[in-house]
């Protein structure tokens, strides 16, 4: 089970907006527990899809300057409907601000013209080396991995 909650990048406007798609499949193991008789994508993984999409917008805008991009806060995250296996969801993220170490966004997810999720959230981005110089090599490794993943998402 890989922890990657988007499958493809649809469009990107650096500094401004990104659209991505996730396809939901019964092959995703956690669906067996959520829920056994009614498999639907867990709400927090919808939020994770929005966060990952925004993280890519940051990475592209700052040219992979930072290795670690984490959720700093989320507010007014609303779940409006269920997303079942066999469906696809398109995430649209709009950047409010992207600064060196913090950024903020609004985002929503649509499936067959129905709103599934919407959220406001902020990310923080940094390199481990800023806390401990010895970790610079770890940063480099993460960034290399992220560049590979970016190619996958755009292939």
């Amino acid at each position: 089970m890989r922890f990657i909650l988007i499958d493809k990048v649809v469009s990107l406007k650096p500094g401004k907006e990104i659209k991505t798609i996730k396809s939901v499949s019964l092959a995703e193991e956690y669906l067996a527990d959520h829920f056994p008789t009614f498999p639907v994508l867990p709400g927090v993984l919808l939020l994770e899809g929005l966060i990952e999409s925004a993280s890519w917008l940051v990475r592209q805008t700052e040219n992979f300057a930072h290795s670690m991009i984490l959720l700093e806060h989320a507010k007014n995250v609303k779940y409006k409907s269920f997303l079942a296996p066999g469906s696809k969801i398109e995430y649209t993220i709009e950047a409010k601000t992207i600064e060196e170490n913090v950024s903020s966004f609004t985002g929503f997810g649509l499936s067959e013209n129905e709103r599934i999720v919407e959220a406001r959230f902020g990310l923080r981005h940094f390199n481990l080396a800023s806390q401990n110089a010895k970790l610079a090599v770890v940063d480099a490794n993460i960034i290399e991995n992220m560049k590979k993943r970016w190619r996958l998402l755009n292939s």
Partner: protein, 131 residues
């Protein structure tokens, strides 16, 4: 607790900004919760909880927003519009709303327009004065 209408408005404004993620300047007296501020049913519940906490009052749900049963009653709603009887019922059940414009075209799916920031402020004021 004697709060002025302005003080009540400020507190209601803060509640709506937090619950709906909108900006201060969008929360005007005439703004409707659903149409202008994007509130949905889960938000209404959130708003009720926050108002109870902010003002120390208890808000039975049908006092603020009318019960489903009102809308499903054929004496009050017919062919998608409120009847005269229905409008009277609204005046009794939700007196904090202003139906003077609504009554000219009382479409059931426009009912949401009645729930303005001003209506909430009026409701809270009434509750605090009764306490």
């Amino acid at each position: 607790m004697a709060m002025s209408r302005d003080e009540i408005f400020k507190e209601v404004q803060d509640v709506l900004v937090d619950a709906l993620g909108v900006d201060d300047d969008e929360v005007t007296t005439d703004a409707s919760l659903m149409g202008d501020l994007g509130a949905e049913s889960i938000d209404f519940l959130d708003i009720v909880f926050r108002l109870e906490k902010a003002f120390g009052i208890k808000i039975p749900r049908e006092e603020l927003f009318p019960a489903e049963s009102l809308m499903n009653n054929p004496e009050f709603v017919s062919k998608g519009k409120f009847t005269e009887k229905g409008l009277t019922e609204l005046r009794v059940k939700i007196p904090h709303t202003d139906i003077s414009t609504f009554k000219n075209n009382p479409n059931v799916n426009k009912l949401g327009d009645l729930f303005t920031v001003g209506a909430i402020v009026k409701y809270v004021e009434t509750k605090l004065n009764a306490a």
